[in-house]
């Protein structure tokens, strides 16, 4: 009897928590369809803010910046991180403590310290040499820096999960290291590489703080644009662009659910 009340209480608490988690997102979605410029009263349904989005060149260029940044940085991080992951595995019997520290540093460093260090460094470097002006280039460098560890760890754990005798077999089967890489390493790594790419891509798209401090005047990404718009005073267009981003996340959630289902079968 007592157990049942406990369970009922817990179920109630679960739904309350879900409401707490989804209410702020729901309010953004709801007011993106508001016909008036009010954040408190919903007057009637309209798509006018979405129409305004299409005409807003700043938002469109921010969207392209986000996309370019995410794709380029993920590709660079994939190559560099993959090499580290492989090196860590091949030489796992050596003392690689320094490498582990180096790899965990970008993960444990607070975002703000990360961003400010990079910014201070780029500013001074630019003053001294005239190179590395703040912009997409510096943002890509910063993003690659925080993506490398995740790629390296994913690739490394994929190797650890393999049977070591596979490597011997590959050595016997294929003459050159190049052939080995092409016919053995790449195919076995493919799932790890795909998930590493998507994780890097997500981390980049989702990042605000580090991008914010390494960005230049022309290289605002979507989160930076939204930040600026909020700071200047709330415009309902933010609701619309935020709703589109929430939609993208919802889509990713559904895909991951389907993907997991398939994986389990």
């Amino acid at each position: 009897m007592r157990k049942r009340t406990l369970n009922r209480g817990l179920a109630g608490f679960w739904w309350l928590t879900l409401a707490f988690l989804y209410l702020p997102l729901a309010i953004v979605v709801l007011f993106s369809f508001n016909s008036t410029n009010s954040a408190a009263n919903f007057t009637s349904f309209s798509l006018r803010w979405y129409h305004r989005l299409l005409g807003n060149e700043q938002i469109i260029s921010a969207f392209y910046n986000s996309l370019i940044l995410a794709i380029v940085s993920s590709l660079v991080a994939l190559v560099i991180g993959c090499l580290i992951g492989y090196g860590m595995y091949r030489h796992r019997h050596r003392r690689l403590g320094w490498l582990i520290v180096l790899i965990y540093l970008p993960i444990v460093l607070p975002d703000i310290v990360f961003g400010i260090s990079e910014m201070a460094f780029f500013v001074q470097f630019n003053r001294l040499t005239g190179l590395l002006e703040p912009g997409l280039g510096t943002m890509i460098i910063a993003h690659v820096t925080f993506q490398i560890p995740f790629v390296a760890l994913i690739v490394y754990s994929r190797f650890v999960g393999l049977d070591p005798s596979l490597f011997e077999a590959a050595k016997d089967l294929y003459a050159s290291p190049f052939q080995r890489a092409l016919h053995f390493l790449l195919p076995t790594l493919k799932p790890a590489l795909i998930s590493a790419f998507f994780l890097s891509f997500t981390l980049s798209i989702d990042d605000f703080v580090i991008s914010f401090f390494t960005a230049g005047p022309e290289s605002a990404t979507l989160p930076i644009y939204i930040w600026g718009a909020i700071k200047k005073g709330v415009s309902p267009e933010i609701n619309a662009i935020a709703t589109l981003m929430i939609g993208a996340v919802a889509l990713a959630a559904i895909l991951s659910l389907l993907f997991n289902r398939q994986g389990r079968r």
Partner: protein, 305 residues
């Protein structure tokens, strides 16, 4: 003849080392140049003096740390010091609240049907996939003056007339709890899932009260998960920038905002760098303490993000 094996072995060692260098070096050099050097530079800046344009200058000095503790030209003014205290307080309160919410939630998920559990975990995590700026913006919309929540708070006399629940310290706490809840639910769920129910059974057989059974048979087993969650919540909460900036207003500032402001308009790089150094120190002390406690617990569980 006798020489050849030795030579090939030597050759092999050399080529192995070369292999290590070629595979690991690009990334190691990248992180060193673009993260280690910049953070070392930032640490050095903390010990320099503030130049005319906010840029650091020699001679070396401890002025930045004095300013951080509140000592300026005009004697002691508590602004910066209060910001430090507020950061600590917000971190403590929000971490405690996150534990209070996440603990029953994580337990409840384990009591549900096995098929439902991944879906429930996903439901908890998905909001955190949205950009944090958008999530804070959602709370701004919910807590602004004139919204039902603010009206209710006014009716209860919690806030003055025509005021909103945001900007305020309360809004910052709420935002932090909202932001970090999934980070606590996941490790706690992992702990609950592995729970050895035989211990609970034994406690019940020995007529322990439910309270005692929980305290002696359940709680210690969830401690490693609780610890991992605390690391994942408290460390980033202490350095939070976005939430206090959007939800806190001038009186809700935390250390992250103090640091950032010194590099933007306010321009006092050494002061900002000193704040960043303090944050770094807190991070490493936190990680180290948790490792020690974790080892003593014997969980030996790796904190995986």
């Amino acid at each position: 003849m006798a020489n050849t094996p030795l030579v090939t072995r030597r050759h092999a060692v050399v080529s192995e080392t070369r292999h290590l260098l070629f595979s690991v070096m690009p990334g190691a050099v990248w992180i060193f140049v673009f993260l280690v050097l910049p953070s070392l530079y930032l640490m050095a800046v903390a010990f320099m003096s503030n130049g005319p344009y906010g840029l650091p200058e020699l001679p070396l000095s401890l002025d930045a740390f004095k300013q951080l503790a509140g000592f300026g030209f005009l004697g002691w003014s508590p602004g910066n010091f209060y910001t430090l205290l507020r950061s600590l307080w917000q971190t403590l309160v929000s971490t405690a609240l996150v534990i209070v919410v996440a603990y029953p939630i994580a337990y409840y998920i384990t009591t549900c049907r096995a098929k439902l559990r991944p879906l429930m975990l996903l439901a908890v995590v998905v909001p955190s996939w949205t950009n944090q700026v958008i999530r804070a913006f959602g709370w701004m919309n919910l807590l602004a003056p004139g919204t039902p929540l603010s009206d209710a708070a006014q009716a209860l006399g919690l806030i003055g007339q025509h005021m909103g629940l945001y900007p305020s310290n309360f809004a910052v706490t709420l935002g932090l709890v909202y932001n970090f809840l999934p980070f606590m639910v996941l490790p706690l769920y992992a702990a609950f899932e592995k729970l050895d129910t035989a211990q609970v059974q034994a406690a019940q057989d020995l007529y322990a009260s439910p309270m005692r059974a929980f305290w002696h048979a359940v709680f210690p087993q969830t401690l490693p998960g609780l610890l991992a969650g605390t690391v994942l919540v408290a460390i980033p909460a202490f350095g939070m920038y976005v939430i206090p900036e959007l939800l806190g207003g001038g009186k809700g500032m935390m250390l992250g905002n103090l640091v950032a402001n010194q590099f933007a308009g306010g321009s006092n790089w050494p002061l900002g760098a000193a704040g960043a150094l303090l944050m770094l120190l807190a991070t490493f002390v936190g990680l180290f303490a948790m490792r020690r406690i974790g080892k003593r617990l014997g969980g030996g569980e790796e904190v995986v993000i």
